[in-house]
Amino acid sequence: MTPYLSLAIWVPIVAGVVVLGFSRDRDAGFARWVALIGAVAGFLVTIPLYLYFDTTTSAMQFVEYANWIPRFDIHYHLGVDGISVLFVLLNSFVTVLVVWAGWEVITMRVAQYMAAFLIMSGLMNAVFAALDGILFYLVFEAMLIPMYLIIGAWGGPNRVYAALKFFLYTIFGSLLMLVALIYLYSVSESFEILEWYKVPLEMSTQILLWVAFFLAFAVKVPMWPVHTWLPDAHVEAPTGGSVVLAAITLKIGAYGFVRFILPIVPDASRYLSGFVITLSLIAIVYIGFVAIVQADMKKLVAYSSISHMGFVTLGFFLFSQLGIEGGLAQMLSHGFVSAAMFLCIGVMYDRVHSRQIDAYGGVVNTMPKFAAFMMLFAMANAGLPGTSGFVGEFLVILASVKVNFWLGFAAAISLILGAAYTLWMYKRVIFGEVANENVAKMRDIGSREFWLLGVVALAVLTMGVWPKPFIDVMHASVANLLTVVSQSKL
């Protein structure tokens, strides 16, 4: 059997190391091509994961198992189920976009930039595929290093502060998770995540473990009130960094909820579900309002990400098939839509070098093709039916109405807020008279940018019109997850 998961992890990492060999400035052209070949190869090896995926079972598939550190019973154990497989694909796909998006834009230390993204991509695939607690922790932390360098070295004026804040916030959360992982090892004598699903734990222990895991993943998602690193990181990061942060890194936090928190400490999760739902609603509604008043486009999309991720955590803690599938669908959709929004902002930023909304106006007059693409993505961000954004939000709202009407009502406010902040920004930036000479000088998108946005647009529409292939993959695994969660561990 071909080790597809290992390939998905190691192809980008090896490509990244090779790219570093072209560090000299005059080799920048080679570096770009090697990076692109590496990213495309990295995506191609993940396609069999979808093609050969068996949707009828909830068991782990494409499993790889090898001894790593016998002293602590740590294994190189990889596998994907319906919950994680799509994120491996999404991640590898986004990596291609990022390399492509940075093609002409990045002129300084090209090789290091591309290498950082490729290595990061491999590490994030490993996060989604890891079935061993320490392997997971290892890659979960290691991926901070390339992201820290990306924000700090290629970011905006306040990049150093943003990079440090990003690093310290995320590491603060994950360090306590390390204690939790080792504690679980000391009770179960194993670092197998799937073994931990069966370990009986007392309620007080469960709550402490829950807090440790929750801090790690809530910071990553990020949930209100530990979200403040995200707007800074997004604003300062280069376009590629923002895309990866929004499309993949945030998903890792949410993925942690379904892989660790819900099945390992189910009783504490049920006991504390009200708390999480409250935080999620605050994120959805309050952060939605915050997004409306933003003057910086990247900040606006950053807040909209927090608001959208609120839907994901809300869906997970409703403990129903619809809710969890809705959350996962929202994660996938947000991966495409937020990536697209940041790419669009990047396209404008490359021309005018400003992210402020009031620096633009009437862009449609100079960039009609671009305006059409951005229209689609703005609609998807607002959750318009027919786009991918609608599927997840609809499922989650449906699930919440089943629990409590007012819960569903509060969540549905987001549809209005989402439309308000996204479309209002769109109107101010794109429509109207040409605002200033900078806008007048803007060229419309070239073929590289056209195909870049076109591919994402295709994904957004496909998932919006025909979500069945995506949802079907998740179905069996989510059902199994719910059975695990419904069994008390006390």
Partner: protein
């Protein structure tokens, strides 16, 4: 008679002693411009000592000189670690020493004598042997710190080191004498039996224990016996700082293990409590004060203090797993620390120390490779995966949690977050800032190879630590520690 003496138990010591004496003699006939002969002879002696230790490696432990020394797996393994550390230190500091007039025969000979002292600390099986080893090492180091004779800061550091070190030795000796008073022996095994057999805890024994722990804590450089560390690290020439900061820590670990576990395991409950206090104070204060440092050598000094605190976290569990975790931590720390000081010396030139944090600004633009090595060093010190430092922290935290000290583990991870802050600052300077100077970095070939291998080992052992973990476990199981 000869059989009882078991000369072979101390063969590596004999090799180093003979080499040191021989090199002292040969050096007299070597003209100044051929000083590299002495240098390579020293390296050769270290290589030969490693080979001798490897060929006499055996699983069961033997005692020699009527029980005064013990040669077991632990001793062999730690001796080799010390040889490698000293050898690397010589590789890294060659250019540095030449530029500062330290490339002298007496420096090499004193280094070898310090190494001999460490070996005796590692193999001693009697309070007196251990004490002799400690003094031999310390006296050589005092002299080495002041080796740059016209350098007032070096002399000041040496004085401080000497006065405080003598005080600590005195405390240790005083404590040992009290233990001798209660148990009637200086032999570690006899003392261990006497302490296990005692009926009630004697006040005198506990009192002696307090002094012994204080003396050991001074050598390990943990709070509140840490005052000398920053001044000595900063004032000494960097080539001597790296000598003080690496191999002696391994030796001090061995001596602590031999005294506290080998002889006083019966009083484990008493010293556990003391070590907990030292451990928490070191982790918290070491990391907090390091933030405020602008000088890299001072920052690394406080980082040593904090790291020794983490090492104690494994040690204070008082069982074999904890000891092997602490041993792994010490070796991992020594390896990382060697590379960190190696980097400082790499960037130094004649008349320029490169020990300020700002000297690392924009290193990535001057040399991506050395910036990458320094990046690995910093992440390893911070204990972040995928570097060796992560498994070191992982193992000590694991042993603490296994022994029920979850709260200590939580303190350890929270303080390591503080640590991450100042290590990251170095990464920030290297990668995000513009270089202050553009002078090309000139490095000797052998130094390049040694330092690159050292740096990459931090990554390779961070991904595949199994062999090193296994060695640490074997060393302790074959040495009959509880």
């Amino acid at each position: 008679m000869l059989a009882q003496l078991n000369y072979w138990a101390a063969l590596p010591e004999i090799v180093i002693l003979a080499a040191a004496s021989l090199i002292l003699l040969i050096d007299l006939f070597v003209p100044d411009e051929r000083r590299y002969i002495t240098y390579w002879l020293t390296q050769l002696a270290l290589l030969f000592a490693i080979c001798v230790t490897l060929t006499t490696l055996r699983l069961q432990s033997i005692k020699g000189y009527h029980g005064m020394v013990i040669d077991d797996m632990l001793a062999d393994f730690l001796r080799i670690a010390c040889f490698i550390a000293v050898s690397l230190m010589l590789f890294y500091s060659r250019a540095y020493m030449i530029a500062r007039g330290l490339f002298r025969g007496d420096v090499f000979v004193l280094t070898l004598f310090a190494l001999l002292g460490m070996q005796v600390m590692i193999t001693g099986n009697n309070f007196l042997t251990l004490y002799l080893g400690l003094e031999l090492m310390s006296l050589s180091l005092y002299a080495l710190v002041a080796a740059q004779r016209d350098h007032p800061r070096g002399a000041e550091a040496s004085m401080k080191y000497f006065v405080l070190g003598a005080l600590a030795s005195g405390m240790l000796l005083y404590g040992l004498s009290m233990i001798y008073g209660t148990t009637g022996s200086l032999d570690l095994d006899t003392v261990a039996k006497a302490i296990y057999g005692r009926h009630e805890s004697t006040l005198l024994l506990t009192f002696g224990l307090v002094f012994v722990v204080s003396g050991l804590a001074f050598k390990l450089a943990v709070v509140p016996y840490h005052m000398w560390v920053p001044d000595v690290y900063d004032g000494a020439p960097t080539s001597m700082t790296v000598l003080i900061g690496t191999a002696p820590k391994i030796a001090a670990f061995a001596m602590t293990l031999r005294i506290l576990s080998g002889a006083m395991q019966g009083a484990a409950f008493d010293w556990q409590g003391m070590l907990i206090v030292l451990c928490v104070l070191s982790m918290v204060l070491g990391n907090l004060i390091a933030i405020a440092q602008a000088n890299l050598k001072r920052m690394l000094a406080y980082s040593t203090i904090a790291n020794m605190g983490y090492m104690l976290l494994g040690f204070l569990t008082a069982n074999r797993y904890g000891f092997s975790a602490a041993m792994f931590y010490t070796i991992a720390y020594a390896l990382t620390s060697l590379a960190s000081f190696g980097m400082i010396m790499l960037l130094s030139r004649e008349g320029f120390e490169s020990d300020r944090l700002d000297d690392f600004k924009g290193l990535n633009q001057r040399s991506p490779w050395w910036a990458f090595i320094m990046l690995l060093v910093m992440f390893s010190l911070a204990g972040l995966p995928p570097t060796l430092g992560f498994y070191a922290k992982f193992m000590v935290i694991e042993s603490a949690i296994n022994e029920g000290f979850v709260w200590l583990a939580v303190i350890a991870v929270v303080t390591s977050l503080i640590g991450a802050f100042y290590y990251l600052r170095v990464v920030k300077l290297m990668y995000f800032d513009e270089p202050r100077e553009t002078a090309p970095i000139v490095v000797r070939g052998d130094t390049t190879v040694a330092l690159s291998v050292n740096g990459l080992l931090l990554l390779v052992l961070g991904v595949l630590p199994q062999q090193l973990i296994g060695l640490c476990a074997i060393a302790l199981t074959q040495s009959n520690f509880p």
